[in-house]
């Protein structure tokens, strides 16, 4: 019970008596491992005006340092699966695009004390997300392989509602007795707004001018420092278990475009994820 209270996010009583170095050292650290499904859509105007849709598998692993004062997280996320288009009117046809995407994400959030209290806290900070995708759609022949990279700097805001039960509560419903163990639950929403969204995309000639003496990867690609839009958010419910570890259910939304032009690119992710957060520094607290 005592141990639980010490390591929970939100335990600020200790911080006031500790040096900054000790606070940093004792800030709870977690290894987050998550899995889920991603209902996404994809459109690459360079090859097709049709929006492909599909369900992709989502895997993530992250390193999180978190208390009520500060939250820092690095996440590597991998999605793979197939986007599909199926024509149902007239003579039927379908197309499939296999998709592999790697996202690398880092954010830092700081508590805004004026907007926060013991139950609610508001954080603000920044986030950087870099991704690289690779697609295969055999129906597009020479243009069947596609890959591009998007990198975005965000301004981030997060609101968290915190519930804490410090003692075991015994209850009874009709003739059934049950008990509610001590727990902490967090319900949070994080919204990220783009400050700089850049893209590395195919040039006009999608397949590139294949010479013999140049590296074909990213050949004739165009880099746009400012181009397109991107928004993402995360709605999460987190519960701490008695052993100090946590589980989390989250819904992540991420949508981005490459901006105007003949080769405009659009992609959206709606990810439902379940993750476990393993407390890494229980013994230091």
């Amino acid at each position: 019970m005592v141990a639980l209270g010490l390591c929970l996010p939100g335990s600020t009583a200790q911080e006031t008596t500790l040096s900054k170095k000790q606070v940093r050292k004792e800030r709870p650290k977690y290894l987050q491992v998550g899995m889920g499904l991603n209902r996404g859509s994809l459109r690459d105007y360079a090859t097709s005006p049709i929006t492909y849709k599909g369900v992709l598998f989502n895997y993530s692993i992250g390193y999180l340092k978190m208390d009520t004062a500060r939250e820092v997280k690095f996440t590597a996320r991998f999605n793979n699966g197939r986007y599909k288009y199926k024509r149902t009117t007239g003579i039927q046809s379908d197309s499939r695009a296999s998709m592999y995407v790697l996202y690398l994400n880092y954010y830092r959030l700081y508590r805004l004390n004026k907007l926060s209290n013991s139950n609610w806290y508001v954080q603000a900070g920044g986030m950087f997300d870099a991704n690289l995708d690779f697609r295969i759609n055999d129906g597009l022949m020479n243009a069947g392989y596609g890959y591009e990279s998007f990198n975005t700097f965000f301004l981030s805001g997060k609101v968290t509602r915190r519930w804490e039960r410090t003692e075991t509560v015994h209850k009874k419903f009709l003739f059934i007795k049950y008990k509610l163990n001590p727990r902490i639950a967090l319900f949070s929403y994080q919204l990220n707004l783009p400050v700089m969204h850049n893209s590395l995309r195919n040039g006009f000639a999608y397949i590139g001018n294949e010479g013999l003496n140049t590296l074909p990867v990213f050949k004739e690609y165009e880099y746009k420092t400012f181009g397109g839009l991107r928004f993402c958010s995360e709605l999460a419910y987190t519960r701490q278990m008695q052993n100090g570890n946590m589980w989390r259910i989250s819904y992540l939304w991420d949508a981005y475009t490459s901006g105007r032009g003949y080769n405009r690119f659009e992609l959206s992710n709606h990810i439902a994820e379940f993750s476990l957060l393993f407390h890494l520094n229980k013994n230091t607290q």
Binding site: I50, G90, D94, A143, A205, Y206, G208, N209, E210, E220
Partner: protein, 335 residues
């Protein structure tokens, strides 16, 4: 705090709706929309309008009146396929679940080869078949003859080592790519690397960089490096071509033109030097069209066909007598 919750909920609802900044799905089975989309994609991407002197607006004016909203799919396909064939390009196709439009390049000229004549009267039934190569000695083992009907993507060092070792003592090679419709370009590179002993400038290419018919990037020079294997053939090589020599076949001939000890003989090639880029229509059909230009080392564009160094056509009477005039001329050239 309630206001804060409310505002976050509103933002969440808004944020989850990417439709706010995504364009609407372009899927459509409307005949006019699909025709217009195909015409526009070719208009901005096709690389040979000016070279072939094609008035694409005139083509639109000719075919657009044939399209109406409730027309059947095969009728729409016929109109669109016919429109694409105005580009006179074997690398331009429309592909649907029920049909594929093709411009038959080989019909631009007569076949300049008869494989039965070669088999019966030159290499015989005891010829060797090594991978995609059919080959044998000619004229008392003084000449090696290699026939390659396509570039299948499987040419490897074992095959090339065997063949070039077998013919190392000949006076010259005849490399016959008549009616070779193309395939995997890497095969062409791998073969040619055995025919050079120093880095050689073989072709240059340029791609579209914008929607204008003449918006191309700077030509990029391509240099072919010799193979690492010591088994090479650096004596005279005569490459035989005809109008059916297309795509990677044409590319092979174009590159061979840049190699000093190789000469091209036979008929003009079919072209197909542009790399075809694939795309999809709003109704799900796919298409492709050439989006780059390949030029020879002097900057000449041979998309309409590269003329041989020496024009030799087969004579039907000769063929009837079992004589391949092109092959005879090639053998005489070497001897």
């Amino acid at each position: 705090m309630k206001k804060l919750i409310l505002s976050m909920l509103v933002i969440s609802l808004f944020a989850s709706c990417e439709k706010a900044f995504f364009k609407k799905n372009g899927e459509s089975t409307n005949a006019v929309e699909n025709f217009d989309y195909l015409w526009e994609q070719c208009d901005i991407r096709y690389a040979y309008f000016d070279y072939k002197n094609i008035d694409w607006n005139q083509v639109y004016a000719q075919y657009r009146p044939k399209v109406y909203e409730d027309m059947s799919e095969d009728s729409l396909f016929s109109v669109m396929g016919a429109m694409l064939n105005e580009l006179r390009d074997g690398h331009v196709n429309l592909i649907s679940p029920f049909n594929i439009s093709v411009f038959d390049v080989e019909l631009l000229g007569p076949d300049n080869v008869d494989d039965r004549v070669i088999l019966e009267n030159y290499i015989g039934t005891d010829r060797m078949i090594t991978g995609p190569f059919t080959h044998d000695f000619l004229r008392n083992k003084e000449i090696g003859y290699i026939r390659l009907r396509s570039f299948p993507g499987g040419v490897d060092n074992v095959q090339l080592d065997y063949i070039l070792t077998r013919y190392k003592d000949t006076k010259g090679l005849i490399f016959d790519i008549r009616q070779n419709g193309g395939g995997v370009i890497n095969d062409a590179y791998n073969i040619l690397r055995r025919f050079i002993d120093k880095q050689t400038f073989v072709y240059q290419s340029r791609g579209k960089i914008g929607p204008g018919h003449n918006e191309f990037g700077e030509p990029e020079k391509s240099f072919l490096s010799p193979a690492e294997s010591n088994i090479k053939y650096l004596k005279k090589i005569v490459v035989l071509t005809d109008r059916g020599t297309y795509s990677s076949g044409s590319f092979f001939a174009l590159m061979a033109k840049g190699v000093d000890h190789m000469m091209i003989m036979g008929d003009t090639t079919g072209g197909g030097l542009g790399l075809p880029n694939g795309g999809q229509l709003p109704n799900g059909w796919t298409f492709r069209c050439s989006i780059t230009q390949a030029l020879d080392i002097n900057g000449n564009n041979y998309e309409n066909g590269m003329p041989p160094d020496k024009l030799v056509l087969v004579d039907k009477l000769s063929l009837a007598q079992g004589i391949d005039d092109v092959l005879e001329a090639a053998m005489n050239e070497i001897q």
